[in-house]
């Protein structure tokens, strides 16, 4: 019995070694993508997944002379699951890069795995400023909330808005948005009358909106995770804040392209700041949107463009390293400059953070559909969270 046992163990060990060796020699590199495909943030996952498929369809499955295999896993937006999946992808599948990450906690939970295994981790969605500081292997292709918040603060100060009330969802990105908006706005001579926060799961905005109305500011600055925007704007209109002379300014999450059309007329005229609009007038974006809409039944939003550019960064880096991973791949990701559907972007070599133009947009009806139409721009915005 013991002997047979030993034999079996040996056999298994041999098998394991065999496959291990086979893997090392293979001409395939694997990219592990972890996204919330189910649960609350499923629309993020859906958008990024579609964008990744589009990238592979357009650019083939070869990079750096090797075959690229993309493995997509669903973490349902639960940080523990993200971490476990990342571990499996790194240990079992030997992926050269991790990518995806729909929410801040998911990226933060996985950061130590990237550091320990020296695997580059490309954040395609999560937007809290501090994420890239959690590991030297994190590269971001989405945006940071301070980038958006600071840009709209600049615009507001220049456009006769003196007194503002801020309203943010009470979690990491919300706190970022509140802090950076208020700092920049006060620096430019404005005043913040009140800083309000709503619980992430508190969908009735009646009390906070009443508070805003009683404070009677020139404008209300809002950040809410995409999905709550429609609800919010309806109640904003219902409560008669616009009639009371209070303007609504926001980060682009509130007027997310994915849901903008369903929001209806209440969204019209909302001024907001973001890095990507499906209506961005450039040939690169036209091509991207056309191809995306042809392959899917929905419009690409800022999540999709983060996923698309994330794939580009990984492919470009693999081409440079001839398919090698680890430190070399990370270094090849740093400093990339390219023309994204959103406009020209740069991966800052020092902070591994994306540097991009932030557009000021207004919701308008174009050909019967609602779009964020860009009318002003802040060029080459670095993440203000890292300018100290």
């Amino acid at each position: 019995m013991t002997r047979r046992h030993t034999l079996i163990t040996l056999a298994i060990a041999a098998l394991a070694l065999g496959t291990g060796a086979a893997q090392a020699q293979s001409d395939t590199v694997k990219i592990g993508v972890i996204l919330p495909m189910t649960g609350q943030s499923a629309s993020t996952g859906k958008q990024i997944d579609a964008a990744i498929k589009l990238w592979v369809a357009q650019n083939g499955n070869k990079a750096g002379g090797k075959k690229v295999e993309v493995i997509v896993k669903d973490d349902a937006g639960v940080a523990d699951t993200t971490r476990r999946l990342a571990q499996e992808l790194v240990v079992n599948d030997k992926v050269v890069a991790l990518a995806g990450f729909g929410l801040t906690p998911l990226a933060l939970a996985t950061a130590p795995i990237a550091t320990q295994s020296k695997t580059p981790l490309v954040v395609m969605a999560a937007a809290t400023s501090s994420i890239t500081e959690a590991s030297p292997y994190i590269v971001r292709t989405s945006f940071t909330l301070p980038q958006a918040a600071v840009s709209i603060a600049e615009w507001a100060a220049k456009n006769k808005i003196k007194k503002v009330v801020t309203l943010v969802a009470d979690y990491g990105p919300g706190n970022d948005a509140e802090k950076f908006f208020a700092d920049r706005f006060v620096l430019n001579g404005g005043s913040v009358a009140e800083k309000l926060r709503t619980p992430l799961r508190g969908p009735d905005f009646a009390p906070v909106l009443q508070k805003v109305r009683d404070a009677a500011p020139d404008a209300l600055f809002v950040f809410l995770p995409s999905g709550q925007g429609a609800q919010f704007m309806k109640q904003f209109a219902e409560r008669g804040l616009a009639k009371a002379g209070i303007r609504l300014i926001a980060t682009g999450d509130v007027t997310d392209d994915d849901q903008l059309n369903d929001m209806g007329d209440v969204a019209l005229g909302v001024v907001n700041s973001h890095h990507y609009s499906a209506a961005h007038p450039s040939p690169a974006n036209k091509k991207f949107v056309e191809a995306f809409e042809a392959a899917n039944k929905f419009r690409p939003n800022f999540m999709a463009v983060g996923g698309y550019d994330g794939m580009r960064v990984i492919y470009n880096a693999l081409n440079t390293t001839k398919g090698a991973g680890g430190e070399a791949l990370l270094n090849a990701m740093k400093g990339q400059i390219f023309e994204s559907p959103r406009g020209p972007v740069l991966i800052d070599a020092q902070t591994r953070e994306i540097v991009q133009d932030i557009y000021i947009r207004k919701v308008e009806r174009v050909n019967g559909q609602l779009y964020n139409v860009e009318f002003d721009v802040q060029k080459g915005v670095k993440d203000p969270g890292k300018l100290k």
Binding site: S43, P203, P207, K211, G240
Partner: protein
């Protein structure tokens, strides 16, 4: 100030209609149905689908949402709930929470996880304002509509329960099903009807509240706590109990978020703890309780 009070009442009324069905099944039928929120969600989705896909007007969708979920409730009662009546409470809880998770996953799969939008008709989007300064009263037409319809519902139900033959039969069937059956009352059918109406009310609440509470797959889990608080605080033996509890909670929630935004959503729980310490059986339960 008055505006806030009004908002609180509207919110409370909504909670009341949503939780009423649960109070009925829990108090009258002695069955703990944690899947109650799933029926509310079903009502919300029926409303959204009818309005978006079939283009029905808002008002016409409300009765459909009621009837649709009532029918769903009746079918489920007949097929899977009935065998659970005799089971211990823990089994009932496990069973119905399982149902809730299934409903969440099923809706997520079928409809997607994102928030559904409801376009209210123009006349519900108006706003009435009276007075000025701190005593200004601003009322959204939609919230006013909720308050009015919920008051009508509460009065109607109270009348049915206390004045009609069906009401007395139901109370008899609940007090002692065996004796009631011995006297020739069709206990099964009474329970079936009650369960269906309870589910229908939840559906109506989900549809009515679609614009304020939102319609999305995690709805049953998100609001389950609120329903249970209403039942725990109000007691489940009458309609007045949950009504008062829902109003108190609604007003406290809105006021709390206005005056103490830092505490925010927590006020409701503090209030529940305080009330339950004071009256562990709930506000309006008969002294002995169950």
């Amino acid at each position: 100030m008055l505006t806030l009070l009004f908002d609180g009442i509207a919110y409370g009324m909504l909670l009341f209609v949503l939780a009423l069905g649960l109070a009925v099944t829990m108090g009258l039928m002695n069955f703990i149905n944690l899947a109650h929120g799933a029926f509310a969600m079903a009502g919300g989705y029926i409303l959204v689908l009818m309005m978006q896909k079939a283009g029905w007007p808002f008002l016409a969708c409300l009765p459909v949402a009621f009837a649709g979920t009532a029918l769903l409730g009746a079918v489920l009662e007949r097929t899977i709930y009935r065998p659970m009546y005799g089971k211990p409470h823990l089994d009932q809880v496990l069973f119905s929470i399982g149902l809730t998770f299934m409903a969440v996953a099923a809706v997520d799969y079928a409809m997607g996880s994102s928030q559904q939008n409801v376009q209210l008709p123009e006349w519900l989007r108006q706003r009435f304002e009276f007075g000025s300064g701190p005593w200004m009263l601003g009322m959204g037409a939609y919230r006013l509509f909720i308050v009015v319809s919920c008051v009508a519902l509460a009065l109607g139900l109270q009348a049915i329960l206390s004045r009609t033959r069906f009401g007395s039969r139901l109370r008899a069937a609940v007090d002692d099903p065996r004796v009631a059956a011995g006297l020739g009352l069709p206990v099964d059918r009474i329970f079936l009807l009650t369960f269906a109406v309870g589910s229908g009310l939840a559906g109506l609440g989900g549809a009515l509240g679609a614009d304020i509470l939102g319609v999305e797959p995690t709805f049953p889990l998100k609001f389950m706590v609120y329903f249970l608080i209403v039942c725990a605080v109000g007691g489940t033996s009458s309609i007045t109990g949950p009504l008062v509890a829902a109003l108190v909670l609604g007003i406290a929630d809105v006021m709390g978020k206005y005056y103490a935004p830092k505490l925010g959503a927590f006020i409701v729980y503090v209030l529940m703890i305080a009330i339950l310490l004071w009256r562990p059986q709930g506000l309006f339960t008969r002294e002995a309780g169950k």
